[in-house]
Each structure stands twice: as structure tokens, then as C-alpha cells.
Point group: C2
Chain length 314, copies 2
């Protein structure tokens, strides 16, 4: 796979501009004081579809030529990417197929259905997800838009960084959650495209710390069984995504689910924003590794706000 | 009491500008479709202190001459106004005393303490609240800043309306919750100061529908025992506040707690905002009385976001 460049991020920004929201950046005096840094929260929970995923999905959908687009798009997703692809496909008037593993958050599945996608259920394993998506692809001719190991998706996710740097000049540190690595890799390319001295950090649940172990060992680890409430961060980091994180010297910061839940409540209380557990890992990391951020101007990505309000983790 | 004028609202806007946030206005395609109107949500949950109350309290505190201010301010409040007055007093470096009735939401009491106010506990009745505040006033010489029956407070709350009308031109209908009536009266004066043809509506819990009954009967009802989860809307509407609502032909719309809880979840899900039950009454009213709003351009006030996350009403 050819990795995306900063030029691809810029092209993606222009491509998605008619559809994506310019999300606000929020601050909190109390959180700044707790962390000991100037923290700027990029509110992708307020993005269309309630998550940053809309950026990458929209870039992928609008990158297709008309003949390919007409056959539709397919993906596998535990939630936010599937919803984003469904919305993006609708913006172009083409079919979307989403393979959803059993155990996905109900609120996210409901949103995918509401966005008009065709749902295909499968077992909650990486192999089952990929097999099911391949079957749909074969049957329909739909274009596969992988949730993270896709250059168009990576470039699309990266578009939030130039936007953030325009909104909050002076940011010298960026922190994002790491799941499959689509966001992490796109943001890394974009950040160093704008300013090569920006320091990059990724927050990761201890129960899915594959990026941390992979970066530590200099080699991508194999499949593992995730154990975390962060439903968006359970996947193994993608091969191309891992390569980008290595190239850009991203530091992975593991946090416990307990720290994440406490951070989630703190964010809800201080920012009055509904964010999902995966999003809260960034504040958990800021607090646990505060010395690494002391005195810096930090941009952090609040990735999404699609929570099952009837099953909050406290 | 001399009622505030639109000029007072304008003066208040200038007075509080250095301290208060210009809160964002949010929209949702799905909520617009459900209501059948173009709905603009004024997010006062993102105001300093997490509620619109900061506007009125700040206007009151900064209206005082230096000698009076030095003796401090006092109020009684179940939460948001107390917190707001504490923050406003801190912005001027003067003492704040807050009489808090037993049974107030713990998150709100914690916030008042964190803002540096002196707390005085009392029984949860209107008479006990007023007596305790009078005692503090006598002892300290502090200036009483009543939570709603105060012209400075009313004018301060009203400042959100010109702000909203600048942010969302074309609004011809405004809907706010009615509790003591400080917000409702201030917004009514401000709205008709800008544009006399704006239609005004107030949402009220059925278990505290004193404004509805008072407006219907043309006479302010007497004390009553509130029965609602909307902790910010349990008080009897103030005498001057009721007078303003009558003058400005405000229509009160009662909603059940069940409708309010459903609307609260819908707002959290669609807007990704943490708002408190009192704030959700407005969406409950939009949905229950949808024909009154059909096709109109509506500004609604999301009043606050100070919720006890460990005691959500669902």
C-alpha cells in the first residue's frame, strides 16, 4: 500500500469540505490546571455522525470515479466507521454495505441502520470481519473502504489537524487515541506536514496496547484478544498505520480502563460534552503522564460521542 | 421593584462581556425533522459555571459600587445561581455567601464550594431559604442577589437573547424553561426589545406548573410543593417575573417528567451535549406542542449542564 502524503491530506480537506463540519475546539481552566498544560480539545464528537470517521469515509467515497462509485462501498466496523461510511455514501447517493460484528454497541448499530446502510452480521473476530466484507465485495462489486488500512481514510482523518492548528495556533504537541491507527497515522502525517517539530502521542487502553508493544519492540505484534471498555480501540493496529507511527516517532501511552472512566466523567463534567470511552483515553493519558506534557500547548482529539446512554461504564 | 428595560439588558451585555462566554448555537437535522421547525439551540450549558446564571450574577456583582461590593454578596440557591454568584464574586475579589437548601444536587454544591463561596445550609422551603439569606445579610452587610426577583439578574440573563439573534438571524420564536422566572423575564424583555413580533414560549414541568396556572388565571398562584426531577425549576415564579411574562404574552407549556427524560436522552444523543433535566423541558415542549412551532425559526435556551452523573434519571 502506498502511504498517503501531506498533499493527500490537503486534497482530502478540499474534497470533504462541502460535507464535513469544522468542529469546535474547547478549553477548560480546571483541566488545564489538573494537567499543567494548555489543552485544546478538538471536538470530533460534534462531527457529522458523531465521530471523526466521517472525514476518512467521505474522502474515500468522493475519491471514487463514477462507475466504481455506482457499485457502492463496503466495510466492516464495530460502529463509527460503518455509520460514517453509510452517511458518506448517502451524500453521493450510492449503496453502502456494513459488516457489523456481534457485540457492537447498539447505539452505533442503530445509527448505521438509520443512515440507510445494508447491515451484514458476523462473529466478532478480525478474520470473520474481513471474510464477510470480502464476500459482500465479491457479490456486489462494491469498493472496500477499510476502516484504517486505507490511504484515502488515513488522509481524510488527518484533515482535522490543519483545521485544529488554524483554530489554535501555537500547538506543539498532539495526542490522539490509537485503535487501528487510521486517525493516528493520518494525524501524524498531517501534523508533521504543517510543522515537523510537533511532538506526537497516542493513548491506548492497557487491554489493547498492541501499538505500545509494537512500537517498543520495533515490530508489529500479532493478533490478540482485547480487554477494554473502549469499543473503538479493540482492533490490532494496521500494517501501514504502524509504519507511519514508527516513521513519525509517535509515543504510545497505555492507560487503564479505570483511568479512562474517571477521565470520561471529568470530561462530561467540565466540558459538558458527551464523549465515548475511546475518546476519554486522551485525558487519562494527559493526567497519568502529566510530566511529558508540562507547560506545553497540546491539541487532543476527542474522537466521538456515540455512547449507549443506558449502559454507561460507571 | 422597578423592572429592567431593554436598555438595562444592553448595559448588562457590555458589563459582563469581559467575563462571560459567547456560547455557541447548535443545530441538528434530525431534531429539526422531528419538530418540523428550524431549531437553534443556545448552549448555555457551555457558559462559565455550566449555566446561564453566570450572566445575571456577573451583572449584579459588577453593578455594585466599590463600598457595597467590599461587604460581599449573598443569595439562596439550589445550585446554579449559587455557583454563578460565587464565580462572579471571585471575578471581583469579594466574598460570596450561598444559602443551600438540603436536597440540592451534590454536583452543584461541590461546584459552589470549589468556587470559593461560604455555604450556609437550610431547610428546603422558600421561607427557610429567605430567612437564612436575611440572617447572613444582617450579619455581614452583604448585598442580596436574589436568584430571579432582581432587576440586575433579570437584565443579565436577558443578554443571551441579542447574542442568539446575532448568531442566528431570522429567529421569530423563542422558547426557554420557566422556574423562578429570571431567565424567562430577562429573555422576554430582550427579545421584544430587539423585535416586538417574536413569539415567546416557556416550558414548565407539570409538577411545578405555577407559571402556567398563574398566566391562565391572570393571577400569580401561591406557594406549592413541587414534584419534578427538574431541580432548577421547582421554585414559585417571582412577582416581578410574573408581571413581565404577562406583559410580554408568554405562553407556558407544561411537560411531564417522562417527556423531559426522553428529551434529555435525545439531546445527549443528537447534540452530544451534557444538559440537565431543566434544560430538556424545552425539547419536550417542542415535541409535545409541535404544531405551535411548525415551520418557524426557533431559538431555544439550553440552560445548564450541571448533572449528577451518578444519578441520571433513566
Amino acid at each position: 500500500m502506498i502511504l498517503p502524503t501531506f498533499e493527500d491530506v490537503r486534497a482530502a480537506a478540499a474534497r470533504i469540505a462541502p460535507y464535513a463540519a469544522v468542529t469546535p475546539v474547547m478549553r477548560s481552566d480546571r483541566l488545564d490546571a489538573l494537567v499543567g498544560a494548555a489543552v485544546h480539545f478538538k471536538c470530533e464528537n460534534l462531527q457529522r455522525g458523531g465521530a471523526f470517521k466521517f472525514r476518512g469515509a467521505t474522502n474515500a467515497v468522493w475519491s471514487l470515479d463514477d462507475a466504481t462509485a455506482a457499485r457502492g462501498v463496503v466495510t466492516h466496523s464495530s460502529g463509527n466507521h460503518g455509520n460514517a461510511l453509510a452517511l458518506a455514501a448517502r451524500s453521493r447517493g450510492i449503496p453502502a454495505h456494513v459488516v457489523v460484528p456481534e457485540g457492537a454497541v447498539q447505539a452505533k448499530v442503530d445509527a448505521i441502520v438509520a443512515a440507510g446502510a445494508h447491515i451484514h452480521r458476523c462473529e466478532p473476530t478480525q478474520a470473520a470481519r474481513e471474510a464477510a466484507a470480502a464476500a459482500v465485495q465479491k457479490q456486489t462489486g462494491a469498493d472496500l473502504v477499510h476502516p484504517y488500512a486505507d490511504a484515502r481514510v488515513m488522509a481524510g482523518q488527518g484533515t482535522l489537524v490543519p483545521e485544529l492548528l488554524r483554530q489554535a495556533p501555537g500547538i506543539n504537541t498532539i495526542l490522539f487515541p490509537i485503535g487501528g491507527g487510521g486517525l493516528a497515522s493520518g494525524c501524524s502525517i498531517a501534523a508533521h506536514g504543517v510543522e515537523p517539530s510537533i511532538r506526537l502521542f497516542g493513548a491506548e487502553p492497557e487491554g489493547a496496547d498492541d501499538a505500545f508493544r509494537s512500537l517498543r519492540d520495533g515490530k508489529r505484534v500479532g493478533p490478540f484478544v482485547a480487554n477494554t471498555i473502549c469499543d473503538g480501540l479493540r482492533t490490532l493496529i494496521g500494517e501501514p498505520n504502524f509504519a507511519v507511527l514508527q516513521q513519525h516517532s509517535v509515543t504510545a501511552l497505555p492507560v487503564s480502563d479505570e483511568e479512562t472512566v474517571a477521565a470520561m466523567k471529568l470530561l462530561w463534567t467540565e466540558l459538558k460534552l458527551v464523549i465515548e470511552p475511546s475518546s476519554a483515553t486522551v485525558l487519562a493519558a494527559l493526567l497519568r503522564y502529566a510530566p511529558q506534557f508540562a507547560g506545553r500547548t497540546v491539541g487532543v482529539v476527542l474522537t466521538g460521542g456515540n455512547v449507549d446512554l443506558d449502559a454507561l461504564p460507571w
